[in-house]
């Protein structure tokens, strides 16, 4: 009997060492029954995309509190596409102004979660939108 598990990578791109939120999310995903690959802070988009491919994740969750999300998030999507891995869903969160949402959606970020999002709502979104491979 096949026993499929959702694999998700939690990564922090760029010059941003504040990973409390990312670790809370990693823990919450673990409790939701996901296999969570945690990469730590200060990751380049290149490192994140390469790791996501190697780990065969269904979702990459990016956390960014530095304000550089307008560059970093779309870059990860681009690199995954270059690696022929655009079936991996990219979502993001952090301190992201409302007026940047559309720009991120247009760049291929499938969902954006900001402070105030409940953990349950994030897990719910993943369960509703991700088909486990």
């Amino acid at each position: 009997m096949a026993d499929r598990k959702l694999r998700i990578m939690v990564a922090k791109p760029g010059l941003d060492g504040h990973d409390r939120g990312a670790r809370v999310l990693a823990r919450c995903f673990r409790d939701a029954g996901f296999e969570v690959i945690y990469t730590g802070c200060h990751q380049t988009p290149e490192q994140i995309a390469a790791s996501a491919v190697q780990e065969d994740v269904d979702v990459v969750g990016l956390s960014c509190l530095s304000g550089a999300h307008r560059y970093l998030f779309p870059r990860v999507v681009e690199l995954l596409k270059e690696a022929d891995a655009d079936d991996i869903t990219v979502i993001g969160g952090g301190v992201i102004p409302d007026h940047d949402f559309q720009m991120l959606y247009d760049a291929g970020i499938k969902a954006v979660f900001t402070p105030g999002s409940t953990l349950d709502s994030i897990v719910q979104w993943i369960n509703d939108n991700i088909k486990i491979q």
Partner: protein
Amino acid sequence: MRKEVSKEKAKKIRKGDIRTATRLIRNIENNVPGAKSTIKHLFPFTGKAHVIGLTGAPGAGKSTLIDAFISQYREKDKKIGALLVDPTSPFTGGAILGDRVRLQRHAEDPEVFVRSLATRGALGGLSKAAGDAIHVMDAMGKDVVLVETVGTGQQEVEIMNHVHTVIVVLVPGMGDEVQAIKAGILEVADVFVINKADRNGTGKLYRELMHMLDMADSFPGGWRPPIIQVGDLFEKEGFGESIEKVLESVQGHYDNLVEKELLGDRIRRKAVVELNEALQSSILAPILETLIADGEMDKMVDKLLKKESDPYTCAEDVAKKYLKKP
């Protein structure tokens, strides 16, 4: 049709295609039908890599050592595969696979393939898929495959069945260091590393290990496991030198296996374990599935509770029903 697909996948993997390889590993973890048939096509091309296992307590520094090993191997242009195992929650089935954090400087190196595995309930310190995942990396043409167990205690010795060389990583200051863990994990070591050897208690741990080894009557192939101290990671020169020493010992161990014609024994040991697992999954697992699906299992358990039968009689009845005598 499926056969052709499997063949095609195996070909891609042998050319080093990471996406196909990592998906195959996943399908094996997930027990997806068809995954095994790709392994069948890869199996003839395995056996070339030197497979090295690292085991030791949580936080002993296994991932950090692997990171340092990879750096040195890459200087010699060796192609690397690394499998990192972390525990699955017994309550939710989820897992946090965090070993990768230490290895991220190699993430972009196309010749380094790092894959994290969750134990999914396996108790030996590895995951059930680990054996096949090693085959996959081996068939990809990796020169060295590094396997990191979960943080181990005393008796998670499964690693010895899957690798050529076992490194046991110890740190000073873990209580009555050796006494507590004398049988079990220490016995499977081919190389000991005392990590964080700049800390108090290193001399004591070293002496105790030496005493333990002194008490052995003999060593297979005459290989007495060396004990190598690895100190402060931030003292780059000294750290680099000790890592070099560890890798020299690892190579020395492998050469000794070859020279004393013991490598075959290790490979045979792995083959026996794998055959056992394959028999379990092809013979026992389908019977169990049928019993559960038919409700037979519940009926038998009910009988046991009412003392109308016992486990042995039930098992014999099942055997009579499902196993044909030749």
